[in-house]
Amino acid sequence: MMRSLLIIAAVACVALLLGAVLQPRGYAVRVVCLILLAASLGQCWNIVGGLANQVSLGHAAFFGIGAYTSTMLQIKFGLSPWAGLPIGMLFAALVSVLLSIPTMRLKGPYFSLATLAFGEACRIVATAATGLTGGPQGVSVPFAGNSWLLLQFRGAGAYVPVFVGLFVVVCVAFTLLANGRLGYMLRAIRENEDAAEVTGINTLGVRLAGGAISAALTAATGTMFAQFTFFIDPDIVFSATSISIRAALIAILGGVGTLAGPIVGALVIVPLEELLSAYLSNKAAGIAPLIFGLILIGIVVWRPSGLVSLVTQRRGRT
């Protein structure tokens, strides 16, 4: 527990330091922001995917709800995203509870595929509900200059403290859950649901709570994302590949169920994508994503339980 908090604090300090020294409107600091967002997203997923072993492939639903709730409230009612943020989180938590009615009892791949279908269903609804979301044309967050109240800034550098805040909240939530009572219960459910029930664990309630927390934090990440990119459309924020599956990939690459997993995953995936895109975009089309895919395959064949296992196993041996 102490060690986990130290890791979080160390990463947060490094990020803040980078935010302070890097050119505030430059590219490097934007990459730092993307890493923080990716790590937060992966950590949100890790709460259900890692602790409860429910491999959700539909987290884009919550991400999109967060992004759209705060953005639409801001556009239509001039509400600050700071106010839209908790509303989006609440809404996402509610949707996650509703979703769990049909998916609660699903196991393994069935759960994954049902959540995948749910994420896609949300994308379709967001596309079709033009009055509510602006439809497929997307919406732009109105730009009002640097403003803490409206949570928007001209350069990426100013976002670093905000995203560090998000990152710390999400990671601390994960740590508390993992080491707290709820964490014991989630792990018990993951291991043996019947046994968990007869030891007095309300498996349904614990799962709902874990799912709702994960959904709400994912929605918060979505709000931050919208405030950062200033433009969202249903294909961007409800994307199965670039949100749902990516969230899972970040956690899995690093190590499912561990605090460090999504952090390591984000530290590998984001810079890798950026480097490949920077150096290979001038070359033959498709070579950059091809190499990215090959590296993913290489890592999973080499380390099926994630990169974190490199450290933990070595420590285990000594």
């Binding site: 044309q137 433009f231 459309d233 920077a278 290979l280 975009s281």
Partner: protein, 387 residues
């Protein structure tokens, strides 16, 4: 001009090439269009070198590509072009959502971006650094209908009922809205108004509705895969309703390759057509083996406009280049191929000259048939020449 050249040559930085970022999807679902844009821009650069345009700058222009398969990657790639590569301007990016996401970065960074994306919002956010060389999608929708109605009227077969089939993307919905609003204004009955998910696996439900509706004219707004399915299914059911495509999938060489003779006589709205620029179009065809699609032409023109503006500004300062782009009216090179014959912009950054044209398939080519002032050949309506 000579004085300008000496001035440029005497500058210490003149050896360093001026970098322009090309932000386009080179992989992913719209890779084909990004590829066409790359071809167009490279040809436009060649063309400028041949006609001596670059000498005045005193430095070479270097193209820096960023592959953006999806809008999520747009912001970081744009920032990278600006801060790492030091580009002075950006050309891109075909897909409206990518352009919208990228222009949020260029606006804040104060770097000009020129695009041919259609979305209405692009130049209605009050941004200073974004320039749209083509008209807005809603205008395309409007003209798609008014042009068709006029041709039909001249052909002596008036239209009272129309069908709109469109993909539920930014491009499809915006264009359909223009069509719908115009039809309502003109009192034309819309008998089918259906959006469908991009990348259909089966077009029968759409065509079944179309057949049952008794429409006189159908406006499908779709990319290639869906266009192919819709046209084939229509032909299976012997539906020969005159078809007016909504650009995109309807005016690329693959459309003919895929459908063969079925495309003969199909209309489409287009932002520009290569037959306005025969010499360059011929060069393109020789080099890349197919006719020059409109995105190659439009982005080539945007690129040349930007380079010219850099020359005029005599500066690498993006802010000054931006002002030069806004002030410049360029009517030669690729720009001459646009309807209206020039690239120039209004206070919002939207084209102040261009207008949509109507093209029709003839053999392996698409021919501009409307409006009359730019038409290269008469239109055919149900096989009959329209006077």
């Amino acid at each position: 001009m000579a004085a300008l050249a000496t001035l440029a040559a005497s500058n210490a930085w003149s050896a360093e090439p001026v970098k322009i970022g090309i932000l386009v999807p080179l992989s992913g679902p719209t890779a084909q269009f990004g590829n066409n844009i790359r071809n167009g821009v490279e040809l436009a650069l060649e063309d400028m070198k041949e006609t001596g345009g670059l000498k005045a700058l005193g430095a070479d222009v270097e193209l820096v590509y960023a592959d953006v398969p999806a809008p999520n990657a747009a912001a970081a790639a744009t920032q990278r072009l600006i801060s790492q590569d030091g580009v002075v301007g950006i050309i891109g990016s075909f897909v409206s959502s990518i352009t919208l996401a990228a222009s949020e970065v260029t606006e804040r960074a104060g770097v000009p971006m020129m695009t041919h994306s259609f979305a209405d919002q692009i130049t209605s956010r009050g941004y200073k650094f974004i320039f749209q060389v083509a008209n807005k999608a809603s205008l395309f929708g409007e003209k798609q209908l008014t042009y068709a109605l006029d041709i039909a009227k001249r052909a002596g077969s008036p239209v009272s009922k129309i069908a709109i089939l469109y993909e539920d993307t930014a491009y499809g919905t915006a264009q359909a809205k223009g069509l719908r609003d115009t039809a309502n204004r003109l009192g034309i009955q819309i008998v089918v108004d259906e959006s469908y998910p991009l990348n259909l696996t089966d077009a029968s439900p759409l065509v079944n509705k179309l057949r049952a509706s008794g429409a006189d004219l159908v406006f499908p707004v779709s990319y290639f895969n869906d266009a192919i399915l819709i046209i084939r299914t229509m032909r299976q059911q012997n539906l020969d309703i005159p078809t007016v495509g909504g650009a995109a999938g309807y005016i690329i060489p693959d459309f003919k390759k895929g459908l063969g003779d079925l495309v003969e006589g199909v209309y489409s709205i287009a932002p520009a057509n290569y037959d306005a620029l025969p010499a360059i179009a011929e060069k393109y065809k020789k080099k890349y083996g197919a006719f020059m699609p409109h995105e190659a032409l439009m982005y080539g023109a945007a690129f040349q406009h930007m380079v010219k503006a850099i020359e005029v500004a005599q500066s690498r300062d993006p802010e000054k280049i931006r002002d030069a782009i806004a002030a410049l009216r360029k009517c030669d090179g690729f720009s001459a191929g646009l309807p209206g014959g020039c690239t120039a912009f209004d206070a919002n950054g939207l084209t102040s000259v261009a207008f949509p044209v109507f093209v029709q398939w003839r053999g392996d080519d698409i021919v501009t048939v409307y409006p009359p002032e730019v038409a290269k050949a008469p239109a055919y309506w149900r096989g009959k020449e329209v006077k």
